[in-house]
Symmetry: C2
Subunit: 307 residues, 2 copies
């Protein structure tokens, strides 16, 4: 079995690469790709490491040539960067995923295609609870492009050309401080600061309600999604935890054995984009066997451990 991971040098991708190396049967062949490969994926024995630019047709053709049974498509330009560089955003977050899906289907009809979508598809949606059925209203090009890719994949799935699933992930915590371009970077920063016993200057108020998921939970979500069949729903909202910044800060402090020192801000734009989330209805995902982080405590422990 051939498995492809795009964005394999990223935060989620490197976690998935490590987990796949521990998990998949011996005869499977793992291919990791990213613009450059310098992280954990490079330490996995026997994996094919192919660095290059997926937005270049020649590279995409060559990469997909062998045909893959499972594709994990994680590569993307973060939302903040995509908003600032619309041409790059369009190329990386829209044109490329559509081309990759098309090529994957062409080379291996019916391949399982697992797409890391985003809760950014909901955008400015105002509602008491969000599920897959909630109307979408992307507030950023990032979310619009994710949503368009979801639709494209659902259509290829309907036609039987791929067996596709799109997972609407929240911002993952705790991304390394070096990662930039994510509007939600402040959510990860809170873990690093409180974990290190430093003061955290939050751009959003204590009452801002965000959705939270550790990388470890996201990796399990991806793996489980790859085992579902074509008849399963094509768009799934994985079980994130819905909690206020203050609740999360407390959980981090307990997990780290620290006292949380936070100064709360009131950035209206960030609060609207990331800190105005309602409750989550992840009953569809739970019914399909998806599990998220068990609770804020275990999420905090996972995030602080770097898992």
């Amino acid at each position: 079995m051939r498995i492809l991971v795009t964005g394999a040098d990223g935060y989620l991708g490197s976690g998935l690469a490590r987990r796949l190396a521990d998990t998949v049967p011996g005869l499977s062949r793992l291919t990791f790709t990213d613009r450059q490969l310098v992280g954990e994926a490079t330490r996995i024995a026997g994996a094919d490491l192919i660095a290059g630019d997926l937005t270049q047709a020649d590279f995409l053709d060559a990469l997909t040539e062998p045909g893959f049974d499972i594709v994990f498509h994680l590569a993307s330009l973060p939302g903040g960067q995509a908003e600032a560089e619309p041409e790059r955003g369009r190329r990386i977050n829209l044109t490329m995923p559509l081309d990759l899906a098309w090529k994957a289907a062409e080379k291996r009809p019916g391949a399982r295609f697992v797409f890391a979508s985003s809760i950014a598809v909901y955008g400015d949606t105002v509602t008491d609870v969000i599920s897959e059925a909630t109307p979408t209203a992307p507030g950023l090009s990032y979310g619009a492009h994710k949503l368009m890719t979801e639709m494209y994949l659902s259509d290829l799935n309907r036609r039987g050309e791929l067996s596709a699933i799109s997972l609407r992930f929240p911002g993952l915590v705790a991304r390394p401080p070096t990662e930039s371009g994510h509007g939600s970077a402040f959510m990860s920063q809170m873990f690093h600061k409180i974990g290190a016993g430093e003061e955290f200057l939050s751009p959003v108020p204590a009452s801002a309600r965000c959705w939270w998921m550790s990388r470890a939970a996201a990796v399990e979500t991806l793996l489980h999604a790859s085992t579902l069949q074509a008849g399963a729903p094509t768009v799934v909202l994985p079980p994130a935890l819905s909690a206020t910044m203050a609740e999360m800060a407390d959980a981090i402090a307990i997990a780290a054995g620290r006292t949380a020192s936070v100064r709360w801000g009131d950035d209206a734009r960030l609060t609207r984009l990331f800190g105005a989330m309602p409750e989550i209805d992840a009953s569809l995902a739970r019914g399909l066997g998806f599990a998220g982080d068990a609770d804020l405590q275990s999420l905090a422990r996972a995030a602080l451990s770097g898992a």
Copy 2:
């Protein structure tokens, strides 16, 4: 003012071309494009006629080079054909509209972009009444691609790169018998057959409820949409008439001074795709000043007259 019409040789496009020639101020410059131009658009004095393939980057570049203040994007591959030829469908109904919108915005930021979308975006939606807020569920690639283009345009509108509006049109009547590829062709055929006093073999039952709009009403809808500003809604469901096949057959017979002779069929697929429409809630469109056909009688008269 420069105005571009794509698909100008098609049924809707040629009607719009004729109407624009009668309507727009003398200093406006009209450009009509299609793969070939042989119909009404060629008879409009002073218009630029540019035949070519919009899916070819060189042609698209050259065509959009002058910059247009208003673009009417009507060109598409009909749903039935697109379903049978997925590569062509993807190229014409998805990649090309996205590229055209991008180029139009690049050459003339803030240009008004009027997109002929389709009620095919609703697909298998089951509900008592449909409005812009109704969740979408395209049952064909045609509808999925229209929906993706709507989203793309809404995002460009949000960014101020275009002033965009997508109009969700029903199948228009009565398309010429020579036009093929539309799954809804039977709806137009009913006008031609009853109008000619011939027996009509309907593939769907008398009780099948369809949405109806004449070309004349669709042309007025496009013109009105072009006058709205960027702050207006970016997705509009124009006021179509919701009526059963039997009701429409009666109205055609009266308008034509004929007796309707119809044998009703029971094609489940066509009934599901086109004959299972609920009521329409076009209050948003009406509030914006859009008007459709006044009633079934005037629709039948317009359709039979070729208007």
